[in-house]
Amino acid sequence: MTDNILVLLDSTPDGQLSKSVPGLLGAATGLGNPIALIVGAGEHADALSAAAAAAGATKVLLADGDNTIYSTPTVDALQAAAALVQPAAVLAAHSDQSKEVVARFAVRTGAAVNYDAIDVTRDAKGIIASHSAYGGAFVVTSAVTFAAPVITVRQGVVEARGTAQPVVAEKLAVTPSGRKSAAIESIDVADAPTSLRPELRGATKVVSGGRGLGTAEKFVLVEQLADALGAAVGASRAAVDAGFVPQTFQVGQTGVQVSPQLYVALGISGAIQHKAGMQTAKTIIAINKDETAPIFEIADFGVVGDVFTVVPQLIAALEASGK
């Protein structure tokens, strides 16, 4: 009999599965029989179940959410789902919502946590997780001493995918634990971004700007190149501290960590703080006026030059070849 792998899926406010889901179900498929749990699907239950099955879930458990109690209903649902399917591992995205839920589930049920895995595999002794430590400078594998591990998986890094399954969805009965919880007083969902620019986290291409852009107005150059490449926009901490862009754009040890196919650094010196957030990119391009900038030490293609002349030429060349 194949082991059940219980996978907690994140969904977005407008009723889509999170982008982490295909990788999560792909990772779970490599370990056993992926059974998905979706909490609070509400009116989107059918669509979410179908999407989860298409991404590889052999069964989808649907639990009611509660828009007035923070986090605890999802922990209770995960506990009920685990009791039902007796999984060999519990997988969830290392997202802000799910990582807290699974940590609470783990201490509640006495399980151990391997967090922020970049890969999950199985050997003769059990399930092991790989991690990238200190911004990719070290690779570490971990396991748990016994019992089923609870593993959070970094978003957007697992390339494995599950195979589409027939939709098998069922309601999960959950007994509320009554644990003391914060009340949700209001939920505001901002409109989906109107630009088609990809999200920074999990993006396959990223163009980032640094202090070398000079001002918030001139930072638009970064966006122009990003749009020409179909890339997400990022920034160094220096650019964020200078107020060019909000903190959510920050790539680095204290921001978003990215591992794209292509990373373009414009006017970024390449402090260790920044490198720790992007040095696992497959290809790195850097443009900087300062030929001694440390970013050149890790760049596959470095240009010592002015971003305000090199980038417009690059955009023009890309547009010319696109026609």
């Binding site: 940590a103 690779v139 594998t141 939920i187 260790i272 240009v303």
Partner: protein, 258 residues
Amino acid sequence: MRIVVLVKEAPDTYGERFLDLETGLADRNKSDRVLDEIVERALEYAISYAEKHEGTEVVALSMATEDATASVRKALAMGADRAVLISDGALVGADVTLTAEVLAAALTHIGYDLVIAGDQSTDGAGGVVPAALSELLDIPQITKLTTIELDDKAVSGTRVIDRVTLKLRAELPAIVSVTERFPDARFPNFKGIMAAKKKPFEVLSVADLGADIDVLAKPRAIMTEISAKPPRAAGVKIVDEGDAGNQLAEFLKKNQLV
């Protein structure tokens, strides 16, 4: 009101950081060790609140080896009233659930109305200990806050995750974690540094906490292998002579990146 701030020493992110390839543990001798910066923001909030609300005690709690004393003392220099360091050889290499069990025991030992943590450290970067503590202590969690309001009875705050903004509220006692949106911390002044030397600083073992923590009784996460990635080699570097943009476009096409 007693506010306990969870403080943690971490290798300075402005320098190179190393893991010991024999033990898999952080190599303390090779990196500068500092109070993690998110922790300083948490402390800043607690200390500012205490300055405005008489009768507020701020306790800095850490779990680390004894050589973290200097970092923890910085919390006292900033203005915390006392510090508790849980230091025990049995905790070396502790995973997140063991860490949470020990901190939960320490919090119960100290007593608290509000626990404040950083949302995630710069070294482990797990961001799960506050949630685990809420479960172990059966207190509400409101985590990853961008703003916070506190009174004698309750704490509320705003949590912004991607496009969703939540307003959360919890009765005390509770645990919160703060994000980088919180103000920068103050620098300890000379008076603070001198005063810190006279403030209570307890170093306790797990046995001192009187808690029943059996490291081996529960499953634990362990490191099985570790390797250092070879440093990334630099590739081509050209000086722009008027055609660098075109050359870059060629490079991208050649490597199928456009």
